[in-house]
Point group: none
Chain length 116, copies 4
DNA sequence: GTGGTCTAGACCACA
DNA sequence: GTGGTCTAGACCACG
């Protein structure tokens, strides 16, 4: 896995996991790799993964069974929210960029349709 | 002006200038600030600005009059191309992001319309 | 049964038994389980239970009949004292906590009434 | 500063700080000691304090000026909420304890008044 | 100087 | 084995 310097590694890992969840690569209720396993796989310190899982748990995207491991939530509502959160971020970034270029919201859709 | 570590500073400055051109903040044919002036204004090494102007000239976005300074091109065609280049970049990034989330091109427009 | 690390396990067991006595779950004069039985039930070393019973007997809460086992006292006075001891501990802890927060004793009752 | 083993050190520090805020020992808007300073003072690793401040910031109890330090919030609303959170926790624990002993809510106030 | 991130390595409780 | 906490020490960007 490759990381850039724009944002902390742990945030990049979080975003990747969220994306995998939304795309269905990771399925609801599924067991996540252990802290050490994932750390070894992507060549990162276990503490970093620990922080990733901690953050994901705070956002209710994962839950933890003591001594058993970390699991993806099986609440569809959370997944739904996550999907909206991520796509909204992308859409907002797009609209902002186009607005900066001087395109009104009305024109944006036209341009997009033309592009596709 | 703020810079991030993802891409070289000179590229970030170039993008900013291009954006200003497209938005009309900088007008065709207008004289650009001198290397030293711009360098001082955004607190950057003059060599960096030198490289910025060099690159802009290579792309025909600016031209230099010996001893007079650097000027924005007044060829509308160039501006037009520039506008397309930038907006295409934004659009492409948007489409890529949505595709990664599993949305087909057909769905993207629907989602965007709903969002606006 | 779950234990924490703040105080020795035997003290935690004693507190639980005292609570059961006060609540009437254990009735005056009743035979207590044998050391081995209780140790097995709550998965604790018999020596720990031995110490529990020893301590309870020292406080006159239980007495032993040689060869017959351990029994809860049937002296109401002891039970009464026990009840006061436990509730006083809880109340004192509560008052201390509220005092630390800057509430005078006068205010505490008002706050409690409001809460209930 | 002394810590027990019941809960993580960082949580105990957080609770202490919250208590100081509620009691007015720390005043709104005030600068908190730096990570390293506090770490040295209470003989704890800077990372632990880092986590403390991070958690407090997440709860909006502190905010951070980059390169300047960590500051207590000056929003009275947050402080008010904090005060309620802490006192509610203490009160709830008290009521639970008394209920376990078989005292109804009605009786609790009477007992408390008698005690004081 | 500040907070923020990261690595390395350790110990703990739980199952 | 698992996650959770903690220490030690390092480097970074910001002001």
């Amino acid at each position: 896995m490759e990381f850039n310097n724009c944002s902390p590694i742990y945030l990049q890992i979080i975003d990747n996991i969220k994306q995998d969840v939304v795309m269905g690569k990771l399925k609801t209720g599924q067991k996540m790799p252990s802290v050490r396993e994932l750390a070894g796989k992507i060549k990162v310190n276990p503490n970093t993964i620990q922080r990733v899982y901690q953050e994901l748990e705070r956002e209710k995207i994962t839950f933890t069974k003591r001594g058993m491991g970390t699991y993806l939530t099986d609440e569809e509502k959370i997944i739904k929210l996550l999907e909206e959160e991520i796509s909204d971020k992308i859409i907002q970034e797009f609209i902002n960029g186009m607005n900066k270029l001087g395109f009104s919201n009305d024109k944006i859709i036209g341009i997009l349709q033309e592009y596709l």
